[in-house]
């Protein structure tokens, strides 16, 4: 008796292939995300540090995806976050929101709900008061897009 038939093996591997192909498909940065980052940083490089993006791995409804962005900072006059730019590289327009902080904010953290058209990367770029930039990005898989008409 053969435990697994040839048909089952084929079906199984085809399924695995499909998942793999789907998983590695890069989100195409077809919109103006890179231009907006350049305009924000003035061409300066942003290091990947300190910024935390909290988003669901999979968003069932792209119309309202909860997003929290936190930047590690003492938030004192000497060292604080001034602005955080949030972008979505797969939306018709990359811009999502810009948050403005000051030492009076105490903590550089903001939460809102955003629309995502498709599976894509969310990018946050934070500007510090000393002129340096830090960044983070996270991919979100979207089941139903939020920009439908």
């Amino acid at each position: 008796m053969i435990g697994v038939s040839r048909r089952q093996v084929l079906a199984g591997s085809a399924g695995a292939l499909a998942i793999a192909a789907f998983g590695v498909a890069p989100a195409q940065a077809a919109n103006n995300a890179q231009d907006l980052i350049k305009a924000f940083t003035g061409g300066k490089p942003a290091t990947e540090a300190k910024v935390k993006l909290d988003l669901p791995e999979i968003a069932e409804n792209g119309n309202t995806v909860p997003m929290t962005v936190t930047v590690e900072s003492p938030m004192t006059e000497a060292s604080h976050v001034t602005e955080v730019l949030v972008l979505a590289d797969g939306n018709p327009n990359a811009g999502v929101a810009t948050f403005h902080f000051s030492p009076a904010s105490g903590v550089a953290e903001a939460n809102t709900r955003i629309r995502l058209a498709a599976t894509q990367n969310i990018i946050a770029v934070a500007k510090m008061n000393d002129g340096s930039f830090v960044t983070a990005s996270k991919q979100v898989k979207v089941t139903i897009g939020g920009c439908g008409g």
Partner: protein
């Protein structure tokens, strides 16, 4: 907007010690029309979003945000500020057409 919209605002504490971090949650009813959608006749529905949100405490700005069409309808915002002095916590949402929605809470710092 013609109809007065009352935003829902919640502070996690109304009384705080100096230096405490106070969390603010606010929700306002707004269509946040993206300007991408089309109506049944195929005409583009004009964009109408809240583009600016500002929070001041005792007259000083503690937090602000610029919104793009990618912010969901009925925008919700949550942020924190450091309690330094007692006073009104004023939240202002500014629409594309310049109209504003305002909400106010009070914080007492001891």
């Amino acid at each position: 907007m013609a109809t007065a919209v009352k935003p829902r605002i919640k502070l996690d504490k109304k009384e705080a010690k100096k230096g405490d971090i106070v969390e603010v949650k606010a929700l306002v009813a707004h269509i946040m029309e993206t300007g991408q959608r089309k109506d049944a006749q195929g005409n583009t529905i004009p964009r109408k979003i809240i583009k600016k949100f500002v929070c001041t405490v005792a007259g000083k700005q503690v937090f602000a945000a610029d919104f793009e069409p990618a912010v969901s309808a009925n925008p919700y915002i949550q942020f924190k500020f450091k309690a330094t002095e007692s006073g009104p916590v004023v939240l202002t949402w500014t629409d594309d057409d310049g109209s504003t929605i305002m909400g106010e809470e009070t914080i007492t710092v001891t």
